[in-house]
């Protein structure tokens, strides 16, 4: 359960996300993230909630889409500090 706050992750779709907040629920990590420009110099306004999934040693990130999970995460994840 690594702390990835303030890290920039690059995903297989070549998108870059800056991880603002991390939450752990049922031993799974969830992040509030904001998309970063390709040159990593600016934050966009595209925020999202990501769920870290570990499968056979590979790490995947999926967008959180379950309404209740979104509500729960956003209830406790405040403005970026």
């Amino acid at each position: 359960m690594e702390n990835r706050i303030n890290k920039v992750i690059k995903l297989s779709d070549n998108k870059l996300y800056y991880l603002l907040k991390q939450a752990v629920y049922n031993n799974d990590s969830y992040y509030t993230a904001v998309e970063v420009t390709d040159d990593m110099q600016a934050l966009t306004e595209e925020f999202t909630l990501l769920h870290e999934i570990n499968e056979d040693g590979k790490i995947f990130f999926a967008k959180v889409v379950e309404p209740k999970m979104i509500q729960m995460l956003l209830k406790y994840m405040k403005v970026p500090e």
Binding site: M1, K10, K21, V24, V34, K58, F60, I70, L74, P80
Partner: protein
């Protein structure tokens, strides 16, 4: 009250209203009929007029202007005559100027000839005078007898001298006359030039007037008349509409409308029943639930509803199990997952540049975040409502039916209830003052496994809570790694006999829970922790750790949790230990 009940009640009220709708009196009816006849006549007349106006307006030729005789004939003739007059006068001036210049040239030539003659005569006179003078001097002195002239020669010379002097005098007169003629023609040319200038000015004015006439020429179509007719048309259309409204009002029969509304309500009710049936069939998909659900709806009947009993008959439906693969209704959670939301593999993890960290703290990003967060929550709430509505339509129907088995249709929902306590941790941000979480990774122990609580039946009056009560191990001060203790229980759902039901556990006093997070050394650094079922913030204020928790609106409220800091680790003591693990 669910939708069906509301519709039924609405229908009852409508039927009662229908019963109380009084028919129109006979004399009033006659009066109305007369008025309707008059209105029909007026409508017919208005419609004819409207049609006529529309046809007239459709063709612009109907609005072409008519021109007067002056505009058509006189004015162009006058313009033509003026133009010709100017042209003729200009030609005349040019011709006379040409003549004057010719005369001037002739006069100038003549002046030159006479000037030459006069000059020649003057020389000859001078020679004669010299000869006579020589003769006179030679005679007086008695010398140069060869130069002496005879008397006749002197007379001849004298006569020639006089004659030439007369010729000079005449020549000078002619010269004066020529000069005067030249001047006169010059004046005439100047006068002509002045006339030409005036004429040119007049011509320019005329040209300006003609141009202005072209420019300001009115459109051939009389738009003012069109506008008048358009106004008239709109007035007539309004009048027509008013007449039709009046007729409609006189013909309006509320009972028909009520009947129509009742019919519509009944159609909606029938559709709802069909939809409910489909959704109820869907609930059978899960194997945990009975394969056959028998509905036995009996509606409460009121005095009027009894009359409707033929229309809305309680139904008894025997549903067979449905193959989930053939089901036309998708699971709501799956339905909202977009293709784009598929997991993406992590390629690389990078340290964020300082620029991004600065931007993160900017007001712009905070505002955008807040805006997005509010929108996302609203969307999530709406989606949750849609799912609940979709899945729970049958439940809505069943709520009023006490005899219906109370099926928890949310059994497939594995997500936590927001009102429940959640095993949830927010990680703190790593700062230079904060040790890496990897160092504490081992400290984050998994909840101790407990034997599963036996499911209880609704007949069980009190759950045996003593068996599930767990004592959290006390923290060893000298041991840095202390296993975290979490007591897992499940909410009791006595209505659902088929599901594993765990008894609700009482709250344990002063349980010790390990910290999953690091508190920064700054004055007020927030670290949100998971205690047993409660989210808290730890604030470092004046060297002391203070614990606060979130209120319903996100505000901080005092927490009963106490904090103990031991060496590099921090432990919190919470009076609440009843975690509802989902």
């Amino acid at each position: 009250m669910n939708i069906e009940e509301k519709l039924r009640q609405s229908n009852l009220l409508l039927k009662q209203l229908l019963l109380h709708t009084s028919p129109v009196a006979e004399d009033e009816n006659k009066q109305n009929e007369e008025e309707i006849e008059a209105i029909d006549e007026s409508i017919e007349k208005y419609e004819a007029e409207v049609e006529e106006l529309k046809q007239k307006l459709a063709n612009e030729d109907n609005y072409k202007r008519t021109k007067s005789d002056f505009e058509l004939n006189e004015r162009p003739l006058v313009e033509e005559l003026i133009a010709e007059s100017i042209s003729a006068e200009r030609e005349d001036i040019f011709k006379s100027n040409q003549l004057y210049r010719k005369q001037q040239e002739q006069q100038t030539k003549m002046l030159g000839v006479y000037n030459g003659e006069v000059s020649k005569l003057k020389d000859e006179i001078k020679n004669i005078e010299v000869r006579l003078n020589k003769d006179s001097i030679a005679k007086k002195r008695g010398i140069a007898k060869k130069l002496h002239l005879s008397d006749s020669e002197v007379v001849d010379l004298q006569l020639e001298l006089n004659y030439k002097q007369e010729l000079i005098q005449e020549g000078n007169q002619v010269i004066e006359i020529c000069a005067e003629e030249i001047r006169r023609y010059g004046r005439l040319i100047t006068e002509n030039n002045a006339r030409l200038k005036t004429l040119t000015e007049k011509e320019q004015r005329l040209s300006d007037l003609l141009f202005a006439k072209e420019k300001k020429a009115k459109s051939e179509i009389d738009k003012y008349k069109i506008r008048l007719d358009q106004d008239e048309l709109s007035k007539k259309i309004s009048g027509l509409k008013a007449l039709k409204n009046r007729k409609e009002f006189l013909l309006y029969d509320p009972s028909e409308e009520i009947k129509k509304q009742i019919k519509q309500n009944e159609e909606i009710l029938a559709t709802l029943e069909k939809t409910t049936t489909k959704l109820d069939e869907e609930t059978v998909i899960d194997e945990k639930w009975p394969k056959t659900i028998i509905y036995n709806k009996e509606d409460t009947k009121g005095p009027v509803e009894e009359k409707m009993s033929e229309e809305v008959q309680p139904t008894t439906t025997d549903f067979k199990p449905i193959d989930p693969a053939k089901s036309i209704i998708k699971a709501p959670e799956k339905a909202i997952v977009k293709e784009d939301d598929t997991p993406k593999e992590l390629i690389e993890i990078l340290d964020a540049p300082q620029e991004l960290k600065k931007q993160k703290l900017s007001d712009k990003v905070k505002q955008a975040w807040t805006k997005w967060r509010d929108k996302a929550i609203a969307t999530a709430v709406a989606a949750a409502i849609t799912i609940t509505a979709g899945m729970g339509l049958s439940k809505l129907v069943n709520d009023s039916d006490k005899e219906m088995p109370n099926v928890d249709i949310t059994h497939q929902d594995n997500l936590p209830n927001l009102d429940e306590n959640i095993d949830f941790t927010i990680k703190p941000e790593i700062t230079p003052n904060t040790p890496s979480n990897d160092e504490n990774k081992e400290d984050i122990s998994q909840p101790e496994d407990f034997a599963p609580v036996e499911p209880i039946t609704p007949e069980v009056e009190k759950p045996v809570v003593e068996e599930t009560k767990q004592e959290a191990p006390k923290v060893e001060v000298t041991t840095p790694e202390i296993p975290e203790v979490e007591v897992e229980t499940s909410e009791v759902k006595p209505q659902v006999p088929q599901e594993e039901v765990k008894p609700e556990l009482p709250k344990e006093e002063d349980a010790e829970v390990k910290l999953e997070g690091i508190v920064n050394n700054s004055d007020i650094e927030t670290t949100v922790l998971q205690t047993e079922g409660e989210f808290v913030d730890i604030l470092l204020k004046n060297g002391e750790y203070v614990c606060v928790k979130y209120g319903d609106n996100g505000e901080n409220v005092p927490s009963e949790i106490t904090i103990k800091y031991i060496g590099t680790d921090m432990y919190i003591y919470s009076p609440i230990v009843n975690t509802k693990s989902l």
